[in-house]
C-alpha cells in the first residue's frame, strides 16, 4: 500500500482560472514522524487571497498534519511553505485553551500579539465572545467549567478575535449543534467576504466542506496525499441544503471516493 502515492485523479492547479494573489503556497515532498513511517506523500496547495479551501478525508489520513505544516507549526521532513499573510490564526483540533485563564482572558490572549491596550483587548474579546453566543456568566468560567461546545467556540473566538487574514481551522465546528454551527459558518464567511480572509479548513463533514468552500481537497491515507480536487460549482449564495445534498451524492458516487470513505451503498446509514 505504501507505494500507492500517485493521486487517484490528476490534480491540475488552476492558477489560470483564478488570477487572485496567492495567500499561501505549500509544497510538502515528504513528512514522517517516525523515520520508517511516511505520513505524508507529496502534497501541494495554493491558497488564493479570500479563498476557502477544505480538506476532507478519512480519520488519521494526515489532514491535521498537513494543516500543521501549512500553518508553520511543524516543519515538513521535506518541503517548502511561502506565506504571504500578515496575520494568521489557527484553531486547533483540541482547543488548547489555557486552563488557568477565564474564558474571556483566553479569548483575549491571542490579541497580545498586537499593539492594543488592555482595555481595547478586553473590549474586542467581549465583542467576539457575544457574537459566539456566550453570556456574561460564561465569560468568567475556567475552561474546565465549560461544555465541550463552549470550549470549541472559545477557541474559535480566540482565533477570530485577532481579525486574521489567513485562518487555519482544524475541525472547528465538530462539537457544535446544527444551529450554532450555521451561525458560525456565517461569521467565518463574513470575515472572508468582508476582509478577504483566506481559510484552510479541515473537516470530516462533507456537507460542511461543500457549503463553505471554493474548493475541496480529498485526502487519501497511507501515506496522506490529495486524491482529488473538487471545485464547488455553485456560488456560495446559491447553495441550499438540498443543493449540497445533491453535490455530496455526486461526489460520493465516484467509486474511488466512495471506497476511500468506505461508503458503498451509502444510502443506508446504519
Amino acid at each position: 500500500m505504501p507505494n500507492e502515492t500517485a493521486p487517484l485523479l490528476s490534480v491540475v492547479p488552476n492558477t489560470s482560472v483564478d488570477p487572485k494573489p496567492s495567500a499561501l503556497s505549500v509544497t510538502v515532498k515528504d513528512h514522517r514522524y517516525h523515520p520508517l513511517q511516511q505520513t505524508l506523500a507529496p502534497c501541494t496547495l495554493e491558497l488564493a487571497k479570500g479563498e476557502v479551501v477544505s480538506i476532507i478525508g478519512p480519520s488519521g489520513c494526515g489532514k491535521s498534519t498537513f494543516l500543521r505544516i501549512a500553518a508553520g507549526l511543524i516543519e515538513a521532513s521535506e518541503g517548502k511553505i511561502s506565506n504571504a499573510s500578515k496575520r494568521a490564526a489557527i484553531l486547533f483540533q483540541e482547543h488548547r485553551l489555557l486552563p488557568w485563564k477565564s474564558l474571556l482572558n483566553n479569548i483575549s490572549f491571542g490579541l497580545q500579539g498586537q499593539k492594543l491596550t488592555k482595555f481595547q483587548r478586553m473590549k474586542k474579546a467581549r465583542e467576539v465572545a457575544y457574537a459566539m453566543g456566550f453570556s456574561e456568566d460564561d465569560l468568567i468560567k475556567y475552561p474546565s467549567e465549560l461544555s465541550g461546545g463552549m470550549r470549541q467556540r472559545g477557541a474559535l473566538a480566540r482565533a477570530l478575535a485577532v481579525e486574521p487574514d489567513l485562518l487555519f481551522l482544524d475541525e472547528p465546528f465538530s462539537a457544535l449543534d446544527i444551529g450554532r454551527r450555521r451561525d458560525l459558518y456565517r461569521q467565518v464567511l463574513h470575515e472572508v467576504d468582508q476582509k478577504q480572509c483566506s481559510v484552510l479548513m479541515v473537516t470530516h463533514d462533507v456537507t460542511e466542506a461543500l457549503a463553505l468552500s471554493d474548493r475541496v481537497l480529498i485526502m487519501a491515507p497511507d501515506p496522506g496525499h490529495f486524491a482529488k480536487e473538487y471545485e464547488v460549482p455553485l456560488p456560495r449564495s446559491e447553495r441550499t441544503r438540498q443543493n449540497l445534498m445533491d453535490l455530496e451524492a455526486g461526489l460520493l458516487a465516484d467509486d474511488r471516493i466512495a471506497s476511500l470513505f468506505n461508503m458503498s451503498n451509502w444510502e443506508k446509514l446504519v
Binding site: 500553518a71 507549526l73 496575520r87 494568521a88 490564526a89 489557527i90 486547533f92 483540541e94 488548547r96 489555557l98 486552563p99 488557568w100 485563564k101 490572549f109 491571542g110 497580545q112 500579539g113 475556567y142 474546565s144 467549567e145 480566540r158 485577532v162
Partner: protein, 260 residues
Amino acid sequence: MIHHMLSTLLNKLWSGWGTLAGVFLIFALWQIGFEAFGSLVLPAPMEALGRLIDLVALPSGFEYILITAKRAFAGFLLASAFGISFGLIAGWSNTLSLLCKPFITVALGVPPIAWIVLALLWFGGDDGTPIFTVFISTLPLIFAGALQGVRMREKELDEMAKSFHVPLIQRFWQVQAPQIVSYLFPAWATALGLSWKVVVMAELLSSTRGIGAGLAEARVNIDTASTMAWIVIVVGLLLVIEGMLLNPVKDYVEGWKHAE
C-alpha cells in the same frame, strides 16, 4: 457569592483547627519525651515556653530573631533568583542543562562545613557566611523544581501561543509560568523552611549574633530550656510563615486547579 465566601471562610477556620490539633499533638509528644528522658534532654514544654517569653522580651532576643530572619530571607531570595533562572535555562536548553548539572550536584553534595572556610574568606564573619550557606543549600532544591516545571510543561500550549505571535515575555508569564509554578512551588516552600534550619546551623558555627548564636550560648550553658525555646521560635515562625505567606500564595497560584 455569599455562600462561596462563607464556605471559604469555614475552610480557612477548619484548616486553622487542623493545624492547631497537629501542634498540640506535638506538644503532647514533647511532654511524654520530657517525662521519659528528664529535663536535661528535653525540658518541660511549659518551661521552654516560659523561657521563650523571657528571651523574646529581651531586646537582644528580639534582635537575634530579626538578624536571623534577615539572613534566612536574603539567602533564600538569592537562591530563588539564581535557582529559578538556572532552572529555567537548563529546562529550555539541553546543553546548558548538562553544563549546569555538575554545579548543582556540587551544591547539593558538598557538606556546609566545607564551605564555611571559603565563605568566611569571601564574605567575612558577619552576615555573609550564613547567607551564602543558605544560598548554596537551598539552590539545588529550587533549581530542580524549576527545571522539572519547564521540562514537564505542555508543549502544545507554547505552540498555540507562538501561533498568535504573543510576545516572548507574555508567553513566559501567561503560558509557561503557571505550569512551572505548580512544580516549583513545593520545592520553593521546602527551601524556605530549610533556609531557617540552615541559617541557624551556620550561625552556630560562625556567628556571634542571631538565633544560632543564642542556641550555641544555650548549649554551652547546658540550658536545655533555652535551647528548646529557640527551636520553638524557629518552628513557630516557620508555621506562621507557612500560614500567612505560603498558603495564600499557594491558593492563588493553584486556584485554577482546585476551582470546584
